[in-house]
């Protein structure tokens, strides 16, 4: 029995050893819950929830919004955006030629890289050249392709010559491409694989202290020499969190970010007197993609009948509990500069839908509705609506890789899926938005024309026409746009806001770097 006893003793010792660590290591973040609004002179650490989005160098982050945001804390662009729209950033001012093909930028003087070297027009010219040469290796900055030539006038002046006028230039190029230091990247052949410490030397408000891939952790430190002044947040930490609401309640994080169906959690958190919330647009749309090459989905009358048959507001109510709005049939996000509010409505009317089907002679139709598991409830409601007008629906779930493969092959009937980026007209390019198989020369011509139209009013008319075509032709039938929320602890930081049209080329985020700078 002695050996048994020894073993028990050892196990209990191990247990107590682990348990004994408890008082020593209560995480520092738990202090947050005491509401002390007065700013303290000690270092301010802001902890945010997140996950791994890749090494935050300009070419190694995963090509998604949050990856770009993590990079944007280290690197600056020529222009940026605040609450009201485009603002000067690395460039103090700019001019564009009559024909829209020549852009002259005056750089802000005295900007320094994290390693102390000055940022000059040479670096800016190098950046555009470098990215243009390697455009295939990047998934994010392909818009630089239209730059023909770059000219350095003096240390602080640069002229970019474009192949053709580019309406979105200030946002899609000047506001997106991070300026990188020539003295570091000059000799780098494969930028995606360059993940040394030097790869994150930028000019931005923060410096990277630590990045851990498997734990999804980023630690940033304020750049005291930042040209816009030292940030208000001394240390910015991103950690991987499973349940953001719980992490907020326990003070593990200082803000949480929520989406669409999370609305119930948001309402609960808003009731907490120590927390506040802001609401914004997600620039995201859930939609039914029709296989427009396959009968009967190739007939526009059929697609319109479907539009009449589906009660979209019921889906918004029952599935998202009001965490979304009924979608613009022309895709572009309501509330942005480009939104067309005067589109056909296709009111919910099953008997009219049935009549339309009868006119088309569609009988005994059965189809497959393919969707990602996330949207299974939406798919079930759509199925119920369609069965009401006599269409048999089989709902199938698959992961995105499978759905994408089937979309590319054209091997599907209806797909319920979504995408973001709908604050920016460039998302309307066909066939990049996933209306596989839909072809319309007039549409493509209008798209090209708007992308070259420098006059904003004229461009808007064209973008409205594009939305009109989508709403009439219905290559896709949009369902809803989710709302997003930022719930935060105002005693830590209360400068949160949503950028109109999004950060970069349209990332819907509350993590615009301005939030972390001094007001």
């Amino acid at each position: 029995m002695r050996r048994l006893a020894t073993f028990l003793l050892l196990t209990s010792m191990l247990a107590s050893l682990v348990a004994g660590c408890v008082p020593v290591l209560t995480p520092a973040a738990t202090q947050v819950s005491t509401p002390t609004p007065a700013p303290t002179p000690t270092a301010m650490t802001l902890t945010l929830p997140g996950k791994d989005w890749g090494y935050p160098s300009p070419f190694a982050f995963y090509p998604r919004g949050p990856g770009y945001i993590r990079m944007s804390l280290l690197f600056d662009t020529l222009t940026w955006k605040d609450k009201n729209g485009i603002i000067p950033w690395l460039a103090d001012s700019w001019e564009v030629s009559e024909d829209g093909t020549q852009w002259t930028f005056k750089l802000h003087p005295g900007v320094k890289w994290h390693d102390g070297q000055p940022l000059t027009a040479e670096d800016v010219a190098f950046t555009f050249d470098y990215i243009k040469e390697r455009v295939a290796a990047f998934k994010w900055f392909t818009t630089v392709k239209k730059i023909n030539k770059i000219e350095v006038v003096d240390d602080h002046t640069i002229v970019l010559y474009l192949e053709e006028p580019m309406a979105g230039f200030l946002i899609d190029v000047a506001g997106v491409v991070p300026i990188i230091p020539k003295h570091i990247w000059e000799g780098v052949e494969d930028p995606a694989k360059f993940t040394d410490k030097e790869a994150v030397i930028g000019s931005g408000p923060f410096k990277l202290v630590e990045y851990n891939k498997e734990e999804g952790r980023y630690i940033y430190e304020a750049n005291p020499d930042y040209f816009k002044g030292k940030p208000a947040v001394d240390r910015l930490v991103f950690i991987k969190v499973k349940d953001e609401a719980m992490a907020l309640k326990t003070g593990t994080v200082d803000a949480g970010f929520f989406w669409g169906k999370d609305i119930d959690a948001v309402k609960e958190l808003e009731a907490d007197p120590n927390l506040e919330a802001i609401e914004g647009p997600s620039f995201w749309v859930l939609q039914i993609i029709f296989n427009t090459e396959k009968p009967p989905f190739d007939k526009v009358e059929f697609r319109r009948a479907i539009a009449h048959a589906i009660d979209r507001s019921k889906i918004v109510e029952q599935v998202t509990h009001g965490g979304a709005i009924v979608a613009n049939l022309g895709i572009i996000s309501p509330g942005t500069d480009w939104y067309n509010p005067n589109l056909p409505a296709y009111e919910y009317d099953p008997s009219k839908a049935k009549e339309m089907l009868d006119e088309l002679g569609v009988e005994d139709l059965s189809l497959t509705l393919l969707t990602a598991g996330k949207f299974a409830r939406e798919a079930e409601l759509i199925k119920a609506d369609l069965e009401q007008i006599g269409i048999k629906v089989e709902v199938k779930s698959a992961d995105w890789g499978t759905i994408d493969g089937l979309l590319k092959e054209g091997n599907f009937d209806l797909v319920l899926s979504g995408h973001g980026g709908i604050a920016n007209p460039s998302i309307l390019r066909s066939p990049a938005w996933p209306a596989t198989g839909y072809k319309n020369d007039e549409y493509d011509r209008l798209f090209e024309e708007q992308s070259r139209t420098m006059d904003e009013e004229k461009r808007r008319t064209l973008v409205w026409q594009l939305q009109q075509i989508i709403a009439e032709e219905l290559p896709v039938l949009t369902m809803y746009h989710p709302k997003i929320w930022c719930v935060y602890n105002p005693s830590k930081l209360d400068t949160w806001f949503y950028t109109p049209g999004g950060v970069g080329s349209g990332i819907p985020t509350e993590q615009n770097k301005l939030v972390f700078l001094r007001r």
Binding site: M1, L4, F7, T11, V18, C21, V22, V24, L25, P27, A28, A29, T30, G54, Y55, Y62, P63, R64, G65, P66, V135, A136, A137, K139, T142, K193, T195, E210, K213, E214, E215, G216, I219, K240, V241, K242, D243, M246, K249, T250, T252, W284, F375, W400, G401, T402, I403, D404, G405, L406, H419, G420, G421, I427, A432, P434, S505, G506, I507, P508
Partner: protein
């Protein structure tokens, strides 16, 4: 001979590692063009798409890719992860060390505890101890691990504040001293480990108890008792070693599945590890990473099966002679 059998198995599995991921619909670039669960689709022209395929060597004929894969593997090169944009070996190692720590400790603890409690139950068969153990081990074991994990988080982390709600370390722990860092890691490890122990315990416990009951009825036990040996000597020297034979195989299999077995717990505790990594590699169709992950899993499983076979032969003369 047995080793040769294992080598053939390894080669077959290596080939499956290569071909199975490629048989899934979609390709690694599907995930770069945008995915419904994230925000911004990347608009990719055919031209960029082709260049990217070439960049990752995915434009080559399959036979050539297969040959490259085998050649690189022979040189110990696992390739470059497409989604994570890093060498496969470093991505795997980063997650594997956490899985090894968590699952290693949990597996040792639940096996030891299972043997101990199983033996105790069998020895005290029919008593209140046996009954109590049976009920409690079973009730924990029948809960899904993620449910138990969430209960533990709600009560011990949120209500009591005794443990962190997730992660493997405190964010700033890398600045702390060595001992504090170790303590921090253990502190974060405790709840996931407890969850795994409680949910996995029942299998070992039950097997040991049954096997023990069988052995305790044997003649040689009666003989040992008749010789006047003390109770614990009969239990530990005569009964337990014989009862443990079938358990060795199970232990080996448990260790083999160690890599994959933690996914739910990893997700609930936001704990880094192989389960989540393999899941994400699957979703993103990251062929090189999938190959590497399966290779690692396979090596683990075969290694422990081989070890069990060899150990069995040492422990049981009947197998050695056969």
């Amino acid at each position: 001979m047995r080793v040769a059998q294992y080598l053939i198995t390894v080669f077959i599995v290596l080939s499956l590692n290569f071909f199975l991921p490629r048989m899934m619909p979609g390709d690694p670039l599907s995930y770069l063009t945008g995915d419904p669960s994230t925000d911004m689709p990347v608009i990719m022209s055919e031209e960029v798409r082709e260049k990217l395929l070439a960049y990752y060597g995915l434009d080559e004929p399959l036979t050539k890719q297969y040959r490259n894969y085998l050649v690189n593997l022979a040189h110990g090169d696992l390739g470059w992860s497409i989604y994570y944009n890093a060498p496969v070996s470093s991505v795997l190692l980063g997650s594997f060390k956490w899985t090894l720590l968590l699952m290693g400790i949990a597996t040792v603890v639940y096996i030891a505890l299972g043997i101990l409690l199983g033996a105790l139950s069998a020895w005290r068969r029919g008593t209140k101890t046996d009954f109590g153990l049976l009920i409690s081990v079973f009730s924990f074991g029948s809960w899904p691990s993620f449910f138990l994990a969430m209960l533990l988080i709600v009560f011990l982390s949120v209500k009591l504040g005794a443990f962190p709600i997730g992660g493997a370390k405190s964010p700033m722990s890398s600045q702390a001293s060595g001992w504090k860092r170790a303590a921090d890691v253990l502190h974060h490890l405790f709840l996931p480990c407890l969850t795994l122990v409680l949910t996995h315990l029942s299998g070992v416990y039950l097997l040991v108890r049954n096997s023990m009951l069988g052995v305790l009825g044997e003649d040689y036990i009666r003989t040992a008792k008749a010789k006047g040996l003390r109770e614990q000597d009969v239990l530990l020297r005569h009964a337990l070693p014989n009862a443990l034979l079938p358990i060795i195989t199970m232990i080996a299999m448990r260790f083999g599945f160690l890599i994959m077995g933690t996914m739910f717990v990893e997700v609930v505790f936001a704990y880094p590890g192989m389960g989540t990594l393999i899941y994400e590699a699957c979703i993103t169709r990251d062929y090189p990473l999938l190959q590497g992950a399966f290779l690692l899993t396979m090596t683990f499983v075969t290694f422990f099966n081989l070890a069990a076979d060899l150990l069995y032969a040492r422990l049981d003369p009947r197998v050695r002679r056969a």
